[in-house]
């Protein structure tokens, strides 16, 4: 059983999804979803421990040896991202049980859980697999279910957002297939570890750089790096609360994981960053993303949309760390990948609580909510402080590493920009705080608005407390991130 953990990680949610469809009952489907996501978390934790002790795990599907057969390969980075995805999944599913009842038709509840579990298994599949075509298949499983999940939003604009995401996401995925095809033509292999050996042996040619370009652009579309981000704000703003919390904290993060895999594991750091100068492209793009998206976030009135723009800025931070191409920078990127997922998860879940009571997350309608829903807004405050990077919160640690990484490279304007944009985060979080705590409640149904139910509060606070925990005791995350970074940097040399 223990030997098969890598494949069970994908199979259990994948099988639980049709089970949800068969039972057709929202409540039972919810229980199935919670159970399978918790089992996934437990397995991810086991795998993480195993990787710490035994190093990279390799699992041959059906006993066929790689590179002929499909290989699942889990190294430190993969194990770390597995924990992140399953953790968010395990927290969001119990949250969904209460939240979905309010936001989605009863007849569609079971289908919601099915799509949710498919999305989860797709994301986990991308992380565990060592076969590049498998990445595409799992990517499409997770994306198609994500489009469906977003379209379940109550606002009709959710449909347009899902459609837009579908078009752009499919273009991105198709770009990835083209890149994979070119790699296969040149090497005759689809196994990542095998490709890493075969690619440097090829004589210099034009096809490999073109394949590299197709793959990186495709992945950048998925991770919503600055000029390719237009699908994201609407998709996050109009999706059901549970979906936003889940997708915002996992889908883009897994796309960043794919970027790391492609640049470091397959092509090798020498090719990606020295020969192709990827850092020189990613650095300005991420700087623009951080600055412009923080600025746009300040002027949003829909708080969910504001956080979506802030997500784009945070993705900029992560990519900035990667583009520095140093051990510290990469550690900062991976660390922020984890921390930001926890932070945004808690923020979006707190907003889901607001949505549950108010049916709106407009800044105007949230006035004076601090007294009506103190626990919800408390969680929001913790997440908000963490987003800004206040000391003793998770956000502080990753920004600390990021500034260190930038200074190590002598890029002090970039370090300054990180500080300045943190101040911009203060501005947009402060707008919410001001409206929530320092103004009077002006709704007509003042008595009906009470604290959110426990089923929503508990998961929200789990993530909020994790924000604080990883800020005070950052050794677990920092160690995992730095060993993953060292692993990646050493991969090609």
């Amino acid at each position: 059983m223990m030997n098969h953990l890598p494949v069970l990680q994908v199979i259990i949610p994948l099988l639980a999804a049709p089970l949800c469809v068969i039972v057709r009952n929202g409540q039972i489907a919810g229980v199935i979803a919670v159970a399978s996501s918790w089992v996934s978390l437990w397995m991810a934790w086991k795998i993480f421990q195993l990787v710490q002790v035994a190093g990279t795990i390799s699992y041959n599907l059906g006993g066929w040896m790689a590179p002929i057969g499909i290989e699942y390969r889990i190294d430190t980075l993969a194990a770390f991202v597995l924990i992140l995805v399953t953790l968010v999944g395990a927290v969001v599913t119990p949250y969904a049980i209460t939240s979905v009842k309010k936001e989605i038709d009863e007849s569609k509840e079971a289908l919601f859980y099915a799509a949710f579990l498919l999305c989860l298994s797709g994301l986990l599949g991308i992380v565990v697999t060592g076969d590049i075509f498998n990445v595409f298949v799992f990517l499409e499983i997770s994306s198609l279910s994500a489009y469906a999940l977003i379209a379940l939003g109550k606002d009709r604009r959710a449909l347009i957002a899902a459609y837009q995401y579908l078009i752009m996401g499919s273009v991105g995925a198709t770009f990835i297939v083209i890149g994979i095809g070119m790699l296969y033509v040149m090497t005759g292999s689809l196994n990542m570890a095998d490709l890493a050996i075969l690619l440097p042996q090829l004589p210099s040619n034009r096809i490999i750089p073109v394949a590299f370009a197709f793959l990186t652009i495709g992945v950048c579309l998925k991770l919503a790096l600055f000029p390719l981000h237009v699908w994201l704000p609407n998709a996050y703003a109009y999706a059901p609360s549970a979906v936003t919390a889940f997708i915002a904290s996992t889908a883009t993060k897994v796309a960043i994981y794919m970027l790391l895999r492609i640049c470091f594991t397959i092509f090798g750091p020498d090719f990606s960053f020295v020969k192709m100068q990827l850092g020189a492209i990613l650095l300005p793009l991420s700087v623009i993303a951080i600055f412009s998206m923080s600025l746009v976030a300040i002027f949003q009135t829909n708080v969910k949309r504001m956080l979506a723009y802030s997500s784009l800025a945070q993705i900029g931070y992560i990519v900035l760390g990667i583009s520095l191409f140093t051990n510290t920078g990469l550690t900062a990127g991976i660390l922020h990948l984890f921390n930001h997922a926890v932070i945004k998860g808690s923020l979006f879940m707190a907003l889901g609580c607001v949505m549950y009571r108010l049916n709106s997350v407009d800044l105007e309608s949230m006035r004076g909510l601090g007294r009506k829903m103190p626990l919800t807004m408390g969680a929001f405050l913790v997440g908000g402080f963490s987003l800004i990077g206040v000391p003793f919160t998770a956000g502080f640690i990753s920004k600390w590493y990021l500034i260190q990484g930038a200074l190590e490279k002598g890029l002090w304007p970039v370090a300054l920009l990180v500080l300045m944009t943190s101040l911009m985060a203060v501005v947009y979080i402060w707008r919410v705080v001001e409206s929530v705590y320092f103004s009077e409640f002006n709704g007509s149904d003042a008595d009906e608005i009470t604290e959110a139910p426990l089923g929503l509060l508990l998961p929200t606070w789990v993530l909020a407390i994790l924000c604080l925990y990883f800020g005070v005791n950052g050794t677990f995350t920092a160690l995992a991130a730095s060993s993953a970074a060292a692993n990646l940097m050493g991969a090609g040399s």
Binding site: L159, I160, L166, I167, V177, V185
Partner: protein, 115 residues
């Protein structure tokens, strides 16, 4: 390596550009899906072409033949075709829902309604 020998790949590029252009330039949501389909089809042709070996036969063991086409890209693209079908189905069903909600499938009209 003459231009004719690469004819398939020229078609791939032409198809890809047509599809991509339709995808970007069309405001009609159904036509966008058609563009996406053409775009994806070009990739199918790309994969199928690269598995073909001149003078080779289908990969079924036979005593008269010694050279076979590479079946792997064909199998891969079978998967991609299935994914493409699923994508179109989802995209079209979203379009149906959009038409129910807005009464239109023209992008500019829909954007006006949400202003």
């Amino acid at each position: 390596m003459n231009a004719m020998g690469l004819l398939n790949y020229w078609f791939v590029i032409v198809l890809m550009m047509i599809g991509f252009y339709v995808l970007i330039a069309q405001g009609n949501l159904v036509k966008k899906i058609v563009g996406l389909n053409i775009f994806q089809t070009s990739v199918f042709v790309f994969y199928i072409s690269m598995g073909k070996i001149t003078g080779a036969t289908a990969p079924i063991l036979d005593s008269d033949w010694s050279v076979y086409s590479n079946p792997l890209p064909h199998v891969l693209i079978l998967t991609a075709i299935v994914v493409g079908v699923a994508t179109s189905a989802l995209g079209l069903s979203l379009t149906v829902r959009i038409h129910e909600a807005y009464g239109s499938v023209e992008e500019d009209e829909i954007n006006e309604m949400d202003e």
